[in-house]
Symmetry: C2
Subunit: 335 residues, 2 copies
DNA sequence: GGAGAGATCTGGAACGGTCCAAAGAAGGGC
DNA sequence: GCCCTTCTTTGGACCGTTCCAGATCTCTCC
């Protein structure tokens, strides 16, 4: 009971397998009656082409591998959405691998992708093993999306302008009248860039002295802990700019627990404008990092790179936009 | 500049391609020195087997297709996680397709999977096009996870016991002393089952008269709207059991906006125990639906079905557990 | 009626693996 | 030294497509 092959179809339609192949690939050089005969046979047998055989022969898979850091991070999912839609429109399917899940395996996921001979590779976010991306990029057209590293010879980078985003958030808080502002920092290059933007703006306004940076991580828990530390310090900040929305929500909880009202006693800005920030009950002021757009641009870059693998790599930054919601306000006049 | 093939490796190692194949598949029948020579050649050439060629010849792909409803739903992601880990352990890789994204395409995703000749198929959640699952299931071993339909001849179903979960939530509220309880209903079979569980328990306690059902959907927005309607009615409920956590969070927002305190003035229960419910700032009492566990069980079912495609389909339900957090309390005595 | 030009159609060689039957090598017993 | 058995190794068929060179058909024109 094997699935029918192109030969079965040919036999049924009374033509050669080559003609079936022509029909299926939409050739114009086929007489209408033969075309109909072939299509009828396809229908009757329920024939489906075998993708493995096709890609073996064509030497390409029309498939792009996506190496993702963490599916639980809503921002990545949004990026993925943009990526998918653009790639799909170009007839490429997408193969997803979550690196977090298989962290132990390290390089293994790129191994899988190279064995599958994917036509391209997209690395989303900071990955556990940058070396794996390097070796993969030597074989397959590769684009890095949503982060700024690793920087590699023939690899494009598509990301948000994190430094600018951090500047927007900080300027907003200063504009409201805040002076003593804290930043909950993230990890990796992205964390570094956002911190740098924060510090630069504080410096420009002569507020370096009242700028605090507390290390957190990408989770709610990390944001919570960092905020507890910040708010128990002798001279507490009146505003907190968190590395991302998750950390921002953690900060919200900490403030509440310590009896501070947001935004009355404490202003709060997140980052990414995930659906978390849009939940009415949180309604977090945040920086919109345009995940969907970044995904689409990464896809287009990859298509260009597949067409011309040797083209020099470049960095494309998307400008983020501040999204003001309910967690920011001027500080208490008494302050 | 083609990637090296098994023949290149054979030539370099001074053996036949068959021997290379044997070494790579771990045969014990190879003399150690030859094995070493082959492995050295593999290393030097950077050889990677071609998955397409292999699956063409082996007539299987060691790949499972996962048809997902919506990656934005955290519960599905958790299920996926369980699925992945179990399948990976059995040497199967996972191919993910988000049906929501490609809704217009309808059956197209199962088409893709059948063309790829995946060894198995997992349909997660209520899918836009159940007919597509039916036709796919006729060709490929299939398991439905996280929902109760479609019921098909040779298809297993692995899901949470939604009716039981709803009963737990309702019993909890009644146990706290609530009498007038509302349910925000979801869509599809799952919505139906949870509503049924709610209504059954209310009836058993002679509270049918004070049970209200308001239609919502799976989103925060839907939960918000439904709750606004519920709370503006003349005889407002003292507790709300929402179809899922998202809707529960919407309800939380609505209550707050109308000046009701949770859980003081209104108790609230969600469903799924997603990370949303675990956010300290929300701290939602909810029903843990064991997504990870369901994923693993679905994977095991699929493995069994791949081994014996003709085995009769069955339904495996996981018992959910109530997770009491901060949004439920006894009603105001005055009530 | 035949040549020439297109339009259609076909056989067979890839593509890169797996697997099987059989060849070759090595060891054991007489 | 020879035959038999057990290990190792190998050539070649096959998996289901695509693609190319050439075969065959159909027309048109002289």
């Amino acid at each position: 009971m094997r699935p029918p092959t192109i030969r079965d179809v040919a036999e049924r339609a009374g033509v050669s397998k080559s003609l079936v192949s022509l029909v299926l690939r939409g050739s114009q050089q086929v007489r209408p009656e033969k075309r109909r005969a072939v299509l009828a046979a396809v229908e009757e047998l329920g024939y489906r082409p075998n993708a493995a055989a096709r890609s073996l022969s064509e030497r390409r898979t029309r498939t792009v591998g996506v190496l993702l850091n963490d599916l639980r991070n809503p921002w990545f999912v949004e990026l993925l959405d943009g990526l998918n839609s653009e790639l799909y429109a170009s007839g490429l399917r997408t193969l997803l691998a979550d690196g977090r899940l298989n962290r132990r395996l390290g390089e293994d996921l790129t191994h899988t992708f190279t064995e599958l001979r994917v036509d391209g590779l997209i690395a989303v976010g900071t990955l556990p093993d940058p070396a794996a991306v390097r070796t993969a990029a030597a074989r397959v057209p590769t684009v890095v999306a949503g982060t700024r590293e690793p920087v590699l010879p023939n690899v494009d980078i598509v990301a948000g302008d994190d430094e600018l985003g951090a500047r927007l958030a900080t300027e907003h808080l200063i504009g409201l009248g805040h002076r003593h502002i804290a930043h909950i920092a993230g990890q990796g290059v992205v964390g570094e860039l956002r911190r740098r933007g924060f510090e630069a703006v504080m410096r420009e306004h002569g507020l370096s002295g009242s700028a605090t940076v507390e290390q957190g991580d990408l989770t709610e828990e990390g944001g919570y802990r960092a905020t507890v530390r910040l708010l128990s310090a002798p001279h507490r900040p009146t505003a907190v700019f968190a590395f991302n929305d998750m950390a921002g929500v953690g900060a919200l909880s900490a403030a509440e627990e310590l009896g501070l009202r947001v935004p009355g006693d404490l202003s709060l800005v997140g980052y990414d404008n995930t659906y978390l920030a849009r939940l009415r009950h949180l309604w977090l002021t945040t920086v919109d990092n345009a995940g969907h757009d970044i995904g689409r641009r990464a896809a287009r870059r990859l298509l260009d790179r597949i067409a011309d693998p040797a083209r020099p790599g470049g960095v494309a930054l998307t400008a983020p936009v501040l999204e003001v919601r309910g967690t920011t306000a001027p500080p208490r006049p008494a302050d």
